[in-house]
Amino acid sequence: MKSGSRLEKVLTAGKFAVTCELGPPKNSNPQIIKKKAGYCAGKVDGVNITDNQTAIVRMSSIASGVIAMSCGLEPIMQMVCRDRNRIAMQSDILGAAGLGIRNILCLSGDHQKLGNHPEAKNVFDIDSIQLIAMVRKMRDDKQFLSGDPIKEHEPRLFIGAVANPFAGPLELRVMRLAKKIQAGADFIQTQCVFDIDRFGEWTELVTEAGLHSKVYILVGLTPVRSHKALLYMKSNVAGMSIPNELVSRMESANDAGEEGVKICLEMIEKVRKMEGIAGIHLMPIGWESITPVILERAGLLPRPEV
């Protein structure tokens, strides 16, 4: 075992994995995290704790992750390259591992211009691929990025990375995925998939390159309650592909909430049949209570014993 995390155990046992997402609050109230944790505790194999997502200041992912852990969840600490240099990042990686965090997800991070402090100076000392390589070096080579040895208690983290099948150019997307795997990614979570056809194209290229057998791929899925949510994402969220049929299907539904759940269940059905897909990553933005409902109806509960 590289990390001994539950997510690693589920994936290496060949079980279909389920992760979800928990966005920390824009204040210091731990109860908010505990409430959200309540919806998914015991029902998922890991929960992503976002790191100042969309460059909006929130409680830190390490602190929120530790609070989630106290509710019985296993956090996947997200870490972006925007706000910290290699010194602070390595320090936080040591701290997170010391606090019992076993999974990390490495990202570049949204540009600060998209958030609530556009006047900030960004860092980007290293990029997401270099971050993956750094965490792997700390864990497997027992060395800091500089080459200095970590004499004992190296941080043992299961390393995740993201892939966006819908950003351009497609050819580079697959190449970048290969680089992430080469750098040391153990698992991949994708951008939310609404456009199953385009996702299929990407998966085909990925399997053609044999990448699906080198890394565990979890498909990002977002259930929505209204067609407006889809339209909002279509025009405001970077790197999304949302087919028009999906928007009109949501718009004409009598019970939009139920329709959103149904669409999500259909997606789960489809991706479970695809070659090279190891699990799903649910991101019900602002609708955390739906997670257990969807998992129950998809037949993904109870989670396997590992």
Binding site: F124, A133, A167, P169
Partner: protein
Amino acid sequence: MLYTENKPIEEILDCLGEEKNIFLLACNGCADICETGGQQALTTMKRELEKAGKNVSGTALVDFLCDKMLVATRLAREAKNLQKADSVLALTCGIGVQAVAKVVEKVVHPAANTVSLGGLHGLWPAEELCRACGECVLDYTGGICPIAFCAKNLLNGPCGGSQDGKCEVDKDTDCAWQLIYDRLKSLGKLDNLARIAEAKDWQQSTSLEQRKTKFTKAML
């Protein structure tokens, strides 16, 4: 005034790889003063390349390689020799390399690292930018600078926000990595990007030596 330092010859030969016929292009402006360009550097580089078994298919000295007009005019006379070359080695600053890459449909390798902008941002108004990072990666990126043009200074390809060729920060601005992709693809050099670019050594940027440089009244 842009300050440049020569890349080690080993690194240059590594970049040239299997390419046999090289066209040498040197800048006679700032690079001449830094001894990375000018006639002398051109002669030295020609000798080094020939020693390494390369064939120098032609050479040209241009007053300011950062000026695309000058470059295009001067190179018009060299069309034949340029045609024969597998690639161009440019003895100039980061802006010079980018300007040449825009004018010449060939691989353009940088021979120097730009370490400081020295207070004056080149001599010509140019759309090419250099941030004097001190470890020039234009070889890897096909002559488009990701340090200056990517909003996140990414070194390993586009972030997830790149869409329809535009940057996530501003829909009216090209994604630098889309431009790099297009350029490398047209040169048949996309393989460049399969290699992982390792974490950068930022201490090469604006070296201590440059910070110690003081201009006396007489010099100005």
